[in-house]
């Protein structure tokens, strides 16, 4: 693309996608977008007319966010807005995908603050709901918490992102081209190291120290053989079966 910016319609369409993620409607249908940047990248690819580039950006981001978990609903970063911005910048400015991935990191961290803001706003709706509960008005419960509440979210998700992309994409793209090599290399390394955080979080969450050797087993199996994930999963199922069968009595005593 040679114009170095996007049209208002395109910015609105991308903003609306972020709003849909923000609504959390349809549970895993939209919550998935808070864990995987792939659909967001695809959407930008469709809107801006370059699906292959978009998917490559999405795949690079996905590796970084692979182990992302949201314990108790508190995600540490937001891959959706990160993907929407980074994919747009890559397609519009043609910068290196690695640099775009690095750009995604701070965007994802800032984006999660929007979530926190909305969690606060939702508190007001909870109190409004309480009033309707006292009137036994079940129809309003649905209307408040599904329609009004999600309409308000347009202001907190769609609007800021649409404005940012419409007004800021060309300047962000320009900045990306003048970032010194030193920083770019560092950010690119950060993109490669950040998946470690996801894995560390998952291992910590599972939290069974006596099972940690299974992590090492999987790690070195792939490191030495490079077998596909499906093969790894099948072997994993077999190992799980063995473990559960031969330690069955012990785990039951542990209840």
């Amino acid at each position: 693309m040679n114009s170095n910016s996007i049209t208002l319609i395109q910015a609105i369409l991308i903003g609306l996608f972020y709003w849909f993620k923000g609504t959390s409607l349809g549970y895993t249908f939209s919550v998935f977008l808070g864990f995987s940047p792939l659909p967001a990248s695809l959407w930008v690819g469709i809107v801006l007319g370059d699906i292959p580039t978009a998917m490559m950006v999405g795949a690079s981001l996905q590796m970084m966010y692979l182990g992302l978990l949201a314990p108790g609903g508190a995600a540490p970063s937001d891959p959706c807005i990160a993907a929407l911005v980074a994919t747009t910048v890559t397609i519009v400015s043609g910068v290196d995908i690695k640099a775009a991935v690095a750009l995604a990191v701070p965007i994802g961290l800032l984006g999660i603050q929007l979530n926190n803001l909305v969690f606060m706003i939702n508190g007001f709706f909870a109190h409004y709901t309480d009033k309707k509960v006292e009137e036994a008005d079940t129809k309003s419960l649905f209307r408040i918490n599904v329609i009004y509440l999600n309409a308000i979210k347009l202001l907190f998700y769609a609007l800021p992102l649409t404005l940012l992309l419409y007004l800021g994409v060309s300047s962000v793209s320009n900045i990306m081209t003048i970032i010194p090599d030193f920083i770019l290399k560092g950010l690119s390394l950060a993109g490669a190291m950040l998946p470690a955080l996801g894995f560390a979080i998952i291992v910590g969450q599972i939290g069974k120290k006596n099972l940690l050797p299974y992590f090492l087993a999987g790690f070195f199996l792939i490191q030495y053989t490079g077998i596909p994930v499906i093969a790894l999963a099948m072997l994993g199922l077999f190992l799980t079966y063995l473990h559960v069968t031969f330690t069955g009595n012990k785990t039951e005593e542990g209840v």
Binding site: T23, S24, G26, Y27, T28, V31, F32, S36, L38, I51, T53, A59, G67, L69, G72, P76, S77, F119, N122, F125, A126, D130, V133, A136, T138, N145, V146, L149, I183, K185, G186, L187, S188, L189, A192, M193, L197, F199, A200, I202, Q205, L211, F215, G218, F219, F220, L221, I222, Q223, V229, L232, G236, L237, L239, T240, H243, V244, T247, E252, V255
Partner: protein, 281 residues
């Protein structure tokens, strides 16, 4: 007198259609009104509101039922579908004159939500999701749209089936289902199994996706140069750098600070220095 109460207790008022509707509402709205104060609490009440209205003809009873189900509640909404299912069964009995105190219903909700969230998070977000994504990242990398659509739909279908199953299981067996589930160590076995599977897969994915190496090359004597990565590290233990990084982050989270944002900032800071000075790449 007593006989009539018994028959009343067993009377089923809620139809499969009511249940399907309530489940769909739960699925559709479980996280939408998430707030710091109530978390999923309000959504729980919204999902059950039609059923409660059907059960409690008396306005005051309906109000207190709605009140107890819009308070704080948080779980993982897929496996956690068991809880609204159980609660509907309990409310149905209560509305038919069974002597179930409010505290028992609330206690059942709050007592189960944590344990079930732990199981659900481990299996859905910790196991299914990374496995599914791992299968399709390669497709996405080649620029194909299938790499985005396939994992999205596949994950949704799997969790949708789980959720429907647990919701209906919860209703059918009521609070006894949990006792059955928790006794005999079946859940414990399930968690252990999921942990083994999860750790094994995570180990494999960590090896595939953390690709950090060192570009350091030592020039000794000018002619022979020594590539640290290929000549030393790969010979001793391939993947030692990624493994050290994961171990480092894990120990940081376990021993120093469980704040993920700080951990992320540390990683970025260290990366900029190590990457900028060509120590790692």
């Amino acid at each position: 007198m007593e006989e009539t109460t018994v028959t009343q207790k067993d009377k089923k008022i809620i139809t499969q259609k009511d249940l399907n509707k309530a489940w769909l509402k739960w699925w559709w709205t479980a996280e939408t009104s998430h707030s710091f104060e109530r978390l999923m609490g309000v959504s729980f009440g919204v999902s059950l509101s039609s059923i409660l209205k059907k059960l409690y003809k008396n306005k005051d009873d309906l109000i207190s039922a709605l009140r107890r189900h819009t308070q704080f509640f948080n779980t993982q909404a897929v496996w956690g579908s068991l809880i609204p299912g159980i609660v509907i069964a309990m409310e149905e009995k209560k509305s038919q004159g069974s002597d179930i105190p409010e505290e028992i219903i609330i206690g059942t909700k709050t007592g189960l939500m944590g344990a079930i969230a732990g199981i659900g998070d481990t299996i859905d977000w910790g196991m299914w999701l990374p496995i599914i994504l791992g299968m399709f990242i390669g497709v996405a990398e080649q620029g194909s749209w299938i790499g985005a659509i396939a994992p999205w739909i596949l994950f949704m279908v799997i969790t949708l089936i789980e959720s429907y199953f647990f919701f209906m299981l919860g209703y059918r067996t009521g609070e006894s289902s949990v006792e059955k589930l928790l006794s005999g160590g079946r859940i414990q076995t399930l968690i252990t199994g999921a942990s083994v599977m999860g750790l094994f897969i995570m180990g494999g994915l960590a090896a595939s996706y953390i690709k950090v190496t060192t570009p350091i090359v030592i020039n000794s004597g000018g002619v022979e140069s020594l590539n640290i990565q290929t000549a030393i590290l790969d010979a001793i233990l391939p993947g030692i750098i990624p493994l050290l990084i994961v171990t480092g982050v894990y120990l940081y989270l376990e021993k120093v600070n469980r704040n993920f944002t700080y951990a992320m900032l540390w990683i970025i800071g260290i990366s900029i220095i190590a990457g900028g000075f060509n120590i790692l790449k």
